[in-house]
């Protein structure tokens, strides 16, 4: 029988820096804060770390998207890893975790530190347009690669592209703003219980409906918020797990999907993402089913992505996610599937995929504080809006 590589790997540590908008701490200090916390929570020391990976790797243009790469983190933490990697390509946020799983399962290393640092709030405090696609401190006169199919049309934010997807979804399935808005309202309710969330004041569905349109049908509260912050995880081979403060988390299954989105190639009718492939792969590698989930941490760079991911993960049927989240009772803390219990990227801040995995660890370690899902033992994490990855995590 084939042994899936993820089944050889445990998540043994997790750490997160303070969140700031902007933070007074440097991007590198935020990184080392998160990494040191993650290593300690795994019961390890920096000398134990023999693998290091980040997503997407250093982007040295001042836009804060990825101001710290593997090499700088390695030096700052005094690590001497055998295996080091990063990639802007592949399965986006989850790509670095999938790479770590592969490296551990192949025997290249035993304890991999995975981190993701953003300093977009600092960058935008200095240059307001640093957040646009292809931004940086100065706007390049020409755009290249996948973004060159969007940027000349003033689609300078992913919000514009995902607005187009949102409208198609609304049109095909009759979804309404009152339904989509339930995701943003739920995120604020969760963030109110998370001391490290950036927006903690609850909003109502009426607040949502009164918020300004960014790119139809997406409103202000449908868009995540740029922050400064860093998240780190430690993944370990199951045979190398040390006695630490936390129960090792099993990676029961993983899923991966990618298509031409990132190079400007669109397929289908704009109502679903290639995330479907990731969801199908995940459930094909386990005997568990969506009914076994105690919570879901689902990518919410834009709320419409969460709706489409709920369907890609077969938690809802096609076109059914809007009705599933409507009113918020099913996705609340005591609902049938608590969703984005940290507040997600909409309200806790754009830790860019890593906040979701971090929160899943906290829940499985019963460290969710006021937002703890009682009895949480199995949850799903999914990340991505142009490359897609998901993990099924459990302590059972």
């Amino acid at each position: 029988m084939t042994t899936h590589p993820e089944k050889l790997v445990r998540i043994t540590g997790a750490g997160q820096s303070e969140v700031g908008r902007p933070s007074k701490r440097s991007a590198l200090a935020l990184t080392t804060d998160a990494c040191a916390a993650a290593i300690a929570s795994a019961g390890l020391t920096p000398a134990d770390i023999d693998g290091l990976v980040t997503y997407p790797g250093l982007i040295a243009n001042g836009d804060g998207m990825s101001p710290v790469g593997s090499t700088e983190a390695m030096l700052a933490l005094g690590l001497q890893p055998t295996w080091v990697a990063s990639s802007t390509e592949g399965h986006a946020h989850m790509g670095a975790i999938i790479q770590a799983i592969s490296a551990i399962a192949s025997g290249l290393c035993r304890h991999v530190l995975v981190f993701r640092t953003v300093a977009q709030a600092s960058a935008r405090a200095e240059v307001s347009h640093a957040g646009i696609i292809g931004g940086g401190r100065t706007v390049a006169p020409r755009t290249w690669g996948g973004m060159s199919w969007l940027v000349p049309y003033n689609a300078l934010s992913a919000a514009t592209l995902y607005g187009l997807y949102g409208n198609a979804y609304f049109r095909k399935y009759g979804a309404r703003s009152e339904q989509l808005g339930a995701i943003a309202v739920n995120s604020r309710a969760m963030a109110a219980l998370n001391p490290n969330a950036i927006y903690r004041k609850p909003i109502t569905i009426d607040d949502y409906l009164a918020s300004r349109l960014i790119s139809d049908p997406l409103r202000l509260y449908d868009c995540d918020t740029h922050i400064d912050g860093s998240t780190a995880l430690v993944l370990s081979h199951r045979d190398a797990v040390r006695e630490g403060p936390n129960v090792p988390i099993r990676i029961e299954a993983m899923g991966m999907g990618i298509s031409g989105f990132g190079v400007g190639l669109h397929t289908g009718d704009f109502t679903e993402m290639p995330a479907r492939r990731a969801g199908d792969m995940l459930w094909s590698r386990t005997d568990l089913t969506p009914k076994d989930l105690d919570f879901a941490q689902i990518y919410d760079g834009f709320s419409i992505l969460t709706l489409m991911w709920l369907e890609a993960l077969s938690i809802c049927g096609p076109g059914e996610a809007a009705a599933f989240v409507e009113g918020g009772s099913r996705i609340g803390l005591t609902g049938e599937l608590p969703l984005n219990t940290s507040g997600g990227q909409l309200s806790a801040g754009r830790f860019h995929g890593y906040g979701h995995t971090y929160e899943a660890c906290l829940q499985l370690w019963n460290k969710g504080g006021a937002r703890q899902v009682q009895g949480a033992r199995t949850g799903v994490v999914s990340n991505g809006g142009f490359g897609y990855g998901c993990l099924l995590l459990t302590t059972d």
């Binding site: 347009h129 000349p152 934010s157 607005g163 049109r171 139809d216």
Partner: protein, 146 residues
Amino acid sequence: MRNWIDEPDAPARILPGLDDINRPYWTGGADGKLLIARCASCGTYQHPPFSRCASCGGADVVPTPVSGRGRIKSFTVNRQQWMPDLPVPFVFAAVELDEQVGLYVLANVVGCPVEAVDFDMPVEVCFLQQEDVFLPMFTPVSGSDA
């Protein structure tokens, strides 16, 4: 046909860098033509263009004039001003070209109020020149009731 449009008061757009593969798409408008990559072997159009046909692997991919007509598959009205002086609102749409199911071009729809744009609306290409680039854009088909 020289269906060019103008944006006299708008700031310069961030233009695509040109290379041998994308140049036909971005500069065909100089001759009033929308050029879409088409496989000489199997006839499949693909956009964006690549060096080989993704359908059959054919290496002979030819920039081919198309009708420039299509229908709006989806769209959004962008209202956020991402850059100073960016004119808003504007429409960003996926146009399915008449030549092939699923042959999408993403572009702005201009020449009508943003409120007039709708799903399945027939549109035709026009071009906005900035420097050496002729951005394909779309307007409602003349005489359509949209």
